[in-house]
């Protein structure tokens, strides 16, 4: 009896009538699929640690220049509209919720909800980028509020304002790049989820992409008050 069960278990990897996630074979150097999942998740958390440290450099630069040019920074943040920033914060928070729910959907094998939530997350990411470029970067760049040597805004109150814009563009620009990468990962998950690649026995990619997305969200949660709200 037990041999048939074992054979049945091995056969499921090659049985085309089963959904893709059940056919998933874990890599040969792991003993179980569980062990592989744990390893991948540990790897992702370590990677998130590197991302935090990457942004730590930017936060350090922000802190240092804010301490050095308090006037320019106080003045600079007046130019940012907290309403656009706030809207983007809400969008990212909603997307983090849908990303977390997507992982739950995969665990519970709710395929339709999984696809829907992944798609909502990706759309929220694109919306964030759209708002950022159309309503924030665009109008500011066109009136000369630019970083460093490009700065040409004629009504600057403080000679150190270019520095504020350098920090602003570097921090939000690198964050925006992360949003794009995160949305790309989730889009890939969505594409695979159309083929039922994720389910209760295998959802590593959804879990890790969602973790990455939460980090992107978290960094914005820090950037938003530092840049928009503190004067």
């Amino acid at each position: 009896m037990s041999t048939i069960q074992a054979d049945h278990d091995h056969g499921r990897h090659d049985d085309p009538s089963r959904p893709l996630y059940e056919r998933y074979k874990h890599a040969h150097h792991f003993v179980t699929a569980d062990e592989e999942f744990d390893a991948c998740k540990t790897g992702m958390w370590l990677f998130l640690a590197t991302e935090v440290l990457l942004f730590a450099g930017l936060f350090m630069a922000y802190t240092y220049f804010r301490w050095r040019y308090p006037e320019a920074f106080a003045n600079g943040s007046q130019y940012l509209d907290w309403r656009w920033g706030g809207l983007n914060t809400v969008i990212l928070l909603i997307s983090s919720y849908t990303a977390a729910t997507a992982v739950r959907n995969a665990q519970l094998n709710e395929q339709a909800a999984l696809r829907r939530n992944l798609l909502i997350t990706v759309v929220c990411g694109l919306l964030f980028i759209g708002i950022k470029f159309v309503f924030e970067y665009g109008p500011k760049w066109s009136v000369g509020k630019r970083p460093g040597a490009w700065f040409s805004y004629p009504f600057a109150h403080d000679p150190s304002e270019p520095m504020w814009w350098s920090v602003y563009y570097c921090a939000t620009g690198i964050h925006a790049l992360h949003v794009v990468i995160g949305a790309g990962l989730l889009l890939w998950c969505y594409r695979r989820s159309l083929k039922q690649a994720y389910g209760p026995t295998h959802y590593t990619m959804v879990e890790n992409s969602a973790l990455y997305w939460h980090l992107v969200d978290l960094i914005w949660i820090f950037l938003f008050p530092l840049l928009y709200l503190i004067h």
Binding site: H29, T50, A149, P162, M163
Partner: protein, 599 residues
């Protein structure tokens, strides 16, 4: 029948082929290696790339030394009257079509050569040196695993490394990078205007950082998740501890250099001005960012070396390592302290209070390091020492690294540092720890594990002669530089006053001996690969798991999942008394016990 099929997943009979055996024709073998996810092949590929880059960096160093034999000097005839027999490469005057030799062109060549030496050796050789080559090959074997946790990431990491190296070598070959390996602003943002060469070089370091992060991440997860059944944290060989501590630093420090170099590229390409004082930025901020990574990375360079030495000394003196836990925790201690001492690179550009704090913290590094040195010496005490090539190199390591470590103390002391800062004393000090530490440890490890990696023996006699040449050459080259440094010879200069001539000449001749030593090692290795005798499975009689695999290991490392029967250094418990390495393999436990009792 069905049972047999079901079992095929765990059946390893078809995996018994050594990993080095080719897959059909030449082309198929090349494709197989280029797309392999086998950690052993990747280890060998890393080793090849690293040794090739070591040769390039080494030649650059020899050229630097040769220039200093008879340096550029301007004679009485003004700026065009230039002496010095090397590097009078000149500059083509486009108006007249003549080649013009000036001190400036010769100086530029010199600056580019030492940049080439420094950047290649630090970013492409010493940082990935031991972890990526020996670590990749032996970490899974020592843990009794079939592979690292993420084999495909490992392959990606190799390609990223090669891409970064190509970028770097390209930037150097285009002949424009003379910033030194530290890329200090504002020089690195204002030099080479109108070209992309410095940007290439910075991007190269950025890309190499990615490779470093991916490898480190892979190793941390491997150690956490893939230890053999029964292997607890304190049953791991100390080499694994060294690699683990290294990997943690790589993961936590490298992102900071990532953002720093990225900002430096933004600075050059978009002129954002974060490090540019004319736009309100701060060049010293760059130095803080740079050393926040580059100081911990000093321990990325040395910790795997310390791991190698721990293993080599225990195995070749056939004694349990003294203070296993102390060595393991000292590795983590060094990794921890590494993050809070970066300021000691900026004593000259920092407030006094800041300097005092960083100076005090820097002395802390000496404690875990000394713990290790004392433990190694205590391991040697009353051991049955075999003077094999790896053991000779381990002894060389102890000697050189102790000098390197002790000469670090006058540099950590504020008063003496202001005198020695940026002098040849610093150059000699970090060569004693980087070269005398890391490269010597790499050589120790390479000679220790060579029979396992390639299944071939090498000529111990000639390897020992090579070791002697390296030892003598190294000391003649660099010990002399301590004297020059204390007398005020600054680093990075192509010329010097006459009173330094003798020192420089001794140093240069020493570097030739050193070069000859490495060349001899290369010949010994090539001879071993071509005509070496078949190596035994466990030529040194070691107790760690990698020696239970065949030599060279089979494709999937072990025929069966290895079980831990004894600790990595239990020479007193697992090995019968008066056993030699040639008496291997071990008898069973009852027999060992019988022989022990009868003695």
């Amino acid at each position: 029948m069905t049972t047999l099929n079901a079992g095929s997943h765990g059946d390893h009979d078809h995996h018994e082929v050594p990993y080095l055996v080719g897959k059909g024709g030449v082309w198929a073998t090349i494709v197989d290696w280029a797309t392999t996810v086998d950690h052993k092949k990747l280890g060998v590929m890393y080793l090849t790339a690293i040794l090739a880059l070591f040769a390039i960096g080494g030649v650059a160093a020899l050229m630097v030394r040769t220039e200093l034999l008879d340096p550029i000097r301007t004679g009485p005839g003004g700026p065009d009257d230039v002496h010095g027999w090397m590097f009078n490469v000149g500059q083509l005057d486009e108006a007249t079509g003549e080649r013009k030799y000036t001190a400036a062109t010769a100086n530029n060549t010199y600056n580019r050569l030492f940049t080439m030496h420094g950047a290649i050796m630090v970013f492409m050789v010493i940082v990935p040196g031991i972890p990526a080559s020996l670590g990749n090959f032996f970490l899974p074997l020592m843990l009794g695993a079939k592979d690292v946790a993420f084999p495909r990431l490992n392959l990606l990491s190799w390609y990223v490394y090669v891409t970064g190296s190509i970028f770097g070598v390209l930037a150097i070959a285009l002949n424009g990078v003379d910033t030194g390996w530290t890329f200090y602003t504002p020089y690195s943002t204002t030099t080479d205007v109108g070209h992309w060469r410095v940007v290439y070089m910075i991007l190269a370091a950025f890309i190499l950082g990615f490779s470093s992060i991916l490898t480190g991440l892979n190793f941390v997860v491997t150690v956490h998740k893939l230890r053999a059944p029964g292997m607890g944290w304190f049953d791991m060989p100390l080499f694994v501890w060294g690699i683990y501590a290294t990997a943690v630093i790589q993961v936590l420090a490298t992102p900071v250099i990532g953002i720093t170099l990225l900002l430096l590229v933004f600075e050059r390409v978009f002129r954002v001005g974060i490090f540019d004082p004319s736009l309100g930025g701060d060049p010293v901020l760059y130095q803080h960012f740079f050393w926040f990574y580059s100081h911990p990375v000093v321990y990325v360079m040395i910790l795997p070396g310390m791991g190698v030495i721990s293993d080599v000394i225990a195995v070749h003196s056939r004694k349990p390592i003294f203070g296993y836990r102390a060595i393991a925790f000292a590795s983590l201690g060094i990794a921890g302290v590494a993050f809070i001492v970066w300021g000691h690179h900026m004593f000259a550009s920092m407030s006094e209070v800041g300097s005092v704090v960083f100076s005090a913290l820097t002395f802390l590094v000496a404690i875990p390091t000394a713990v290790k040195i004392f433990n190694w010496i205590a391991t040697l005490y009353k051991g049955s020492i075999a003077l094999t090539t790896p053991m000779l190199y381990a002894l060389v390591f102890l000697f050189l690294f102790a000098i390197g470590g002790l000469t670090g103390l006058p540099l950590a002391t504020l008063a003496s540092d202001l005198h020695l800062h940026d002098s040849y004393f610093v150059v000699a000090h970090f060569h004693y720890v980087m070269f005398g530490g890391t490269i010597i440890a790499l050589l120790a490890g390479l000679h220790h594990w060579w029979p396992k990696m390639f299944g071939k023996e090498y000529s111990v006699l000639w390897a020992n002669i090579g070791c002697l040449l390296v030892f003598v050459g190294f000391n003649v080259t660099f010990f002399t530089q301590f004297f020059m440094g204390t007398q005020g010879m600054p680093r990075r200069y192509a010329s010097y006053p006459d009173e330094f001539q003798l020192y420089h000449q001794i140093s240069t001749y020493g570097s030739y001996v050193l070069g000859a030593g490495f060349f001899l090692h290369l010949l010994v290795f090539i001879h071993s690969l071509v005509a070496g005798e078949r190596a035994k499975e466990n030529p040194w009689g070691a107790l760690t798991l990698e020696w239970e695999a065949t030599s060279p290991p089979s494709e999937h490392n072990f025929a069966h999942q290895p079980m831990l029967k004894h600790g990595p250094y239990d020479f007193d418990l697992a090995v019968p008394p008066y056993w030699k390495a040639s008496d291997w393999p071990l008898p069973d436990k009852a027999e060992v016990e019988r022989v022990r009792l009868s003695h």
